[in-house]
């Protein structure tokens, strides 16, 4: 169930709207919704067929519908950060868009009812809302901790309230909720909800802190990472990070196929961006050319 074969489809923009500082885009993309699980992502071609922008852009799947009037749809939420996302934000309804998905290794769902805390940073909340629905369908208790730099970058708070026992909110500028970071309020939430498992999506620093706090509480953490990607399908080896395998050996693994969701306690957060010396195949002293 975790690895549905991805498909490449010529999709069509069905809607594009502003959500605070972000954009939400619904794409008609038959064949993708049916196999999507919470935590999967799509990779979009940007700039058009002759564009100088060659590489795919990865986006978490926020929502899907496999029953629309037109066929399956996929919805994403994105921030404009560079040329590719700026191009996406300029799309019109009915514009074609090339979509590959569903990609990656999604969140694992527990077999038994558990108490789950879902931690979202910025647009990182997007994949957690469908996850919350799936968890609730399995009888889990769901609480949210949502954080962002400011109110306009806080995503999905209303929706989260509707489908959870409680929502704690932090912003760095204090424009809504408590001033600070999610890690300031997470320990309290873990205790209050008697949490068994933490699901998180957001910046790397947040994921590292969430993992540490979940470990301290005795809960398992599942984290969706965001590493720079060129292909999204596993052929380029750009998206790697050091992860400890079941055999105890650290390898540089591809976050697009073995992730984006990893067990937090398996990721060597402090070593992300490096090749740890004890990693399989690490260079001998002196460095690898």
């Amino acid at each position: 169930m975790s690895r549905a074969a991805p498909v490449q489809v010529r999709g069509e923009v069905l809607s594009l709207r502003r959500v605070g500082a972000y954009h939400a885009m619904t794409i008609l993309a038959p064949g993708i919704a049916e196999h999507t699980r919470p935590g999967h992502f799509v990779a979009l071609a940007v700039g058009g067929p002759d564009s100088g922008l060659l590489l795919r852009r990865a986006f978490s799947i926020y929502k899907t519908s496999d029953r629309g009037v037109y066929g399956g749809t996929v919805e994403i939420v994105f921030a404009v950060v560079g040329q590719g996302t700026a191009w996406l934000a300029r799309r019109d309804v009915h514009d074609p868009i090339d979509v590959v998905g569903p990609l990656g290794h999604p969140f694992s769902l527990p077999k038994h009812p558990v108490n789950a805390v879902l931690v979202g940073g910025g647009y990182g909340t997007a994949p957690l809302l469908s996850l919350a629905e799936a968890l609730r369908a399995r009888g889990a208790r769901v609480d949210f901790v949502l954080g962002a730099a400011s109110e306009d970058r806080l995503f999905g708070a209303l929706e989260a309230k509707r489908i959870s026992a409680s929502v704690a909110i932090t912003t760095e500028d204090g424009s809504v909720g408590e001033r600070g970071l999610v890690s300031d309020v997470l320990p309290g939430m873990l205790a209050r909800s008697d949490c068994d498992v933490v699901y998180a999506c957001g910046p790397m620093g947040m994921l590292a802190a969430v993992t540490e706090q979940a470990n301290a509480h005795g809960a398992l953490a599942q984290c969706a990472v965001e590493e720079s990607m060129a292909c999204g399908v596993g052929v380029c080896m750009t998206c790697v990070l050091p992860v400890i395998g079941e055999d105890g050996i650290t390898r540089m693994v591809r976050s697009c196929v073995d992730g984006p969701v990893f067990r937090g306690d398996r990721v060597r957060w402090a070593d992300v961006g490096t090749v740890p010396p004890d990693c399989l195949g690490a260079p001998a002293a002196g460095g690898q050319p």
């Binding site: 074969a5 991805p6 498909v7 490449q8 071609a45 100088g52 922008l53 060659l54 590489l55 795919r56 090339d98 590959v100 590493e227 720079s228 060129a230 292909c231 399908v233 596993g234 052929v235 380029c236 080896m237 750009t238 998206c239 790697v240 990070l241 390898r251 540089m252 196929v257 992300v272 961006g273 490096t274 090749v275 990693c279 399989l280 195949g281 690490a282 260079p283 690898q288 050319p289």
Partner: protein, 338 residues
């Protein structure tokens, strides 16, 4: 349309391949199209031991291209033989195995270990990797070290196994290197590998790549590939060339063919479009057909037998010269079809 082609002793039913390092070992792309329809899959360069590669960031997008500094991450030859090659062989995929080494001995050991491997139709020797014994200077940069590697591989390889030498464009005279590796026993040439480049993040005032420099690929380098293939084909018209560098469409592939490539590999374009290799092959068939070619072979190196275009004219205004073999390329209909 007859798309069959040869790279020396290597016969391929179709002319488009994957470029090494841009298709892993085929499995991922097989989700999107039938990889057995390609001329062959060229696998990511493999080394003797598992290799973790370089730190991240490993990639930077550049105008019509990208820089990569993967650092030859790979599982090592044993895992490759146990896991990757059998998977390809079971599916009837023609596989060109790319090898890389830090020393001449490593290339020789790899070749010996790969003898008789199932499904392997040729070896591609990635000599664009640093020679540990020569302060990390890449083998491909000097005729001597390039030839030494190819000679060692040729010695260890079965007689009938085609050996392709993959050349770097970052050299003063690519023809000199090409001649040296052919004399050392290469049956054909793969060209071009990436060009060394660098990007600085001006806001952080620091290099973008953790490895500082990286290999430039994509459409940005296509003119360099065309030039390299042209120069080598002009000097050694009988030596087969597997062309690569910035091919994104059938038209791009045809450009490399006209410069002298007998087959074409698709690399970076695969990252933007996982169906690119097969799409390029289909488009190439179409590009040849609309120009009136009966076969791919008729187009190989054809631009050498034509003069430069005079005042924008086509057809009759283009000089058609006979080459020394007496062929004159193509029927006249081709010009009318343009």
């Amino acid at each position: 349309m007859d798309l069959a082609t040869t790279l020396g002793p290597l016969r391929l039913p179709a002319p488009v391949l994957t470029a090494s390092g841009c298709a892993a070992a085929g499995r991922e792309l097989a989700q999107f199209f039938d990889i057995a329809e390609l001329g062959a899959v060229v696998t990511k360069s493999i080394m003797m031991a598992p290799r973790a590669g370089r730190a991240t960031p490993r990639m930077a997008e550049t105008p019509s291209g990208m820089l990569n500094s993967i650092g030859l991450q790979g599982p090592g030859v044993e895992e490759f033989l146990g896991h990757d090659l059998p998977w390809l062989a079971e599916r009837g995929v023609r596989t060109v195995v790319s090898i890389a080494g830090g020393s001449v001995e490593e290339f020789a050991l790899l070749t010996r270990r790969l003898r008789g491997a199932p499904g392997m139709v040729a070896l591609e020797v990635n000599i664009s990797c640093p020679n540990v014994a020569d302060r990390g200077l890449v083998f491909a940069c000097r005729a001597g070290s390039a030839a030494e590697v190819i000679a060692a591989v040729r010695r260890e390889a079965p007689r009938d196994l085609p050996v392709l030498a993959k050349l770097s464009p970052d050299v003063t005279d690519i023809v000199e290197i090409a001649q040296a590796v052919v004399e050392a026993g290469a049956n054909g040439l793969s060209m071009i590998n990436t060009l060394l480049g660098m990007v600085i993040d001006v806001d952080r005032a620091a290099p973008v790549l953790a490895g500082v420099t990286g290999g430039l690929s994509g459409p940005a380098i296509r003119p360099v590939a065309v030039r390299c293939i042209w120069q080598v084909h002009a000097a050694m018209p009988h030596v087969p060339i597997l062309g690569m560098g910035g091919v994104r469409s059938g038209r791009d592939a045809l450009e490399l063919v006209l410069a002298g490539a007998s087959a074409v590999a698709v690399g970076t374009a695969t990252f933007g479009d996982p169906s690119a290799p097969l799409r390029v092959q289909d488009e190439l068939r179409h590009e040849l057909a609309v120009r009136g070619f009966a076969s791919l072979a008729d187009a190989v190196g054809l631009a050498h037998r034509r003069g430069a275009r005079v005042s924008g004219a086509v057809g009759a205004h283009v000089a058609v010269e006979r080459d020394e073999s007496g062929r004159d390329g193509a029927p006249d209909t081709r010009d009318e079809a343009r």
